[in-house]
Amino acid sequence: MTEFISNVTFIGNGIFITLQLLFGGLSIGIALGILATILKYNGFGIFFIDRIISILRGSPLILQLSFIYFSAPSVLGIKLSIVSAGIISFGLNSFAYISEILRAGIKSIPKGQFEAAKTLQIPNYYMWKDIILPQIVRNILPAMINEVISLLKETALISTIGGMDIMRTSQTLAAQQFSYFMPLCIAGGYYYGLVLLIEYLGRKIEYRSEYVKN
């Protein structure tokens, strides 16, 4: 029993890296996603942005991660820490997916909503802020929650370049104890626990953004 608890604590140390990667990546992904969506909506750099998104979606994340971590020193002359390389690559990758989610979100708003706002002489800024965005947020929430869950699981790739996340701490432990069963079960428990937490928070936000509560 004490061995189990010490295993859980040891693997649990990885949760800080995992969460850093999740929140860091998500912040970059959302920020870039919003920026790209605004630019594209206003007709700027559509071709260029679409190519970037296509490339980011069109190659394995593990390739992007090793590319950024291992080739940044030789190409850009900067040595990135493991965590920053992770945040950058996970951020760029989720940017590709998030901007597609946002695009679909805008398309989900009927043209009539924009026209109704115009008809009522609501200025553009307020139309976006109070009429369009709240509806977009509500429509994309399920897809965004999916994206957060995917991203959480993908952060486990950081172990391939030596990041001490949950995955890596469990592997370390397994190597020490010559047994994979217990450490991997514990790591799985951590990931699944986090997924359940995200699902729970997601449902709460979804409930709060429902227009009609029955």
């Binding site: 009927p110 009539g112 909503q113 026209e115 109704a116 115009k118 008809t119 009522l120 002489q121 609501i122 200025p123 307020y126 109070d130 009429i131 709240p134 509806q135 509500r138 227009y211 009609v212």
Partner: protein, 217 residues
């Protein structure tokens, strides 16, 4: 009140409105009739400037408001919020809270103030849409198919609603397939077909206007 001179509107190579001209006097209700695809909605959308016209001119003295066939209420706002949102942003409109209350009471939907659009029936949504349009004190109200999808009793209500709006001094233009409805409420009916005005009648001065208009369909 509204003067339309020689307007043309194309979508791509298709001429949708072909040299349309007419005038509307203050506080009149004018109907737009004609077969499907004749250009009724397009004409209303041009007047509201939701579409650009290719030539001609539209002059209107006063505020215009457009009522959509599918209402386009804001689904994430309650009935009252739908009414108050636009006037709240504009200093020109004063006492809008009392005004909203008055309109909602007049239209018999005051008890629905806190409901969301999804919780309303078609006729109730219609009234909210009308109330919301009135909040910006339009001088000209454009209605696209205000009776479509409503049952006979509700259409009757719409007639009396629009008549009470006329009493506020609002000029109206109503596109509709429902000739019976149009003859009940309008002073004048313009018949549009293939983007051209085929005839204009004074509703009250003609015997059996419905039969007369049917010939043009």
């Amino acid at each position: 009140m509204l003067k339309i001179s020689n307007i043309c509107k194309k979508y791509g190579d298709n001429l949708i409105l072909d040299d349309i001209s007419f005038m509307i006097d203050e506080s009149k209700i004018v109907g737009l009739a004609g077969p499907s695809g004749g250009g009724k909605s397009t004409l209303l959308r041009c007047i509201q400037q939701l579409e650009k016209i290719d030539s001609g001119s539209i002059t209107c003295d006063g505020q215009v408001c457009f009522m959509f066939q599918d209402f386009q209420l804001f689904p994430h706002m309650t009935v009252l919020e739908n009414l108050l949102y636009a006037p709240k942003l504009n200093d020109q409109f004063k006492n809008h809270e009392q005004y909203a209350e008055k309109i909602l009471k007049n239209l018999g939907i005051y008890d629905k103030s806190a409901s969301y659009p999804a919780q309303l029936s078609g006729g109730q949504k219609q009234r909210v849409a009308l109330a919301r349009s009135l909040m910006i004190h339009p001088e000209l109200l454009l209605c696209d198919e205000p009776t479509s999808g409503l049952d006979v009793a509700t259409i009757f209500e719409v007639v009396s609603l629009l008549q009470s709006v006329r009493e506020l001094g609002v000029t109206m233009m109503i596109a509709s397939h429902d000739l019976d409805f149009l003859t009940k409420i309008t002073d004048q009916i313009v018949l549009l077909r293939d983007g051209k005005i085929l005839t204009t009648i004074e509703t009250k001065q003609i015997e059996n206007p419905i039969n007369y208009l049917r010939k043009y369909y």
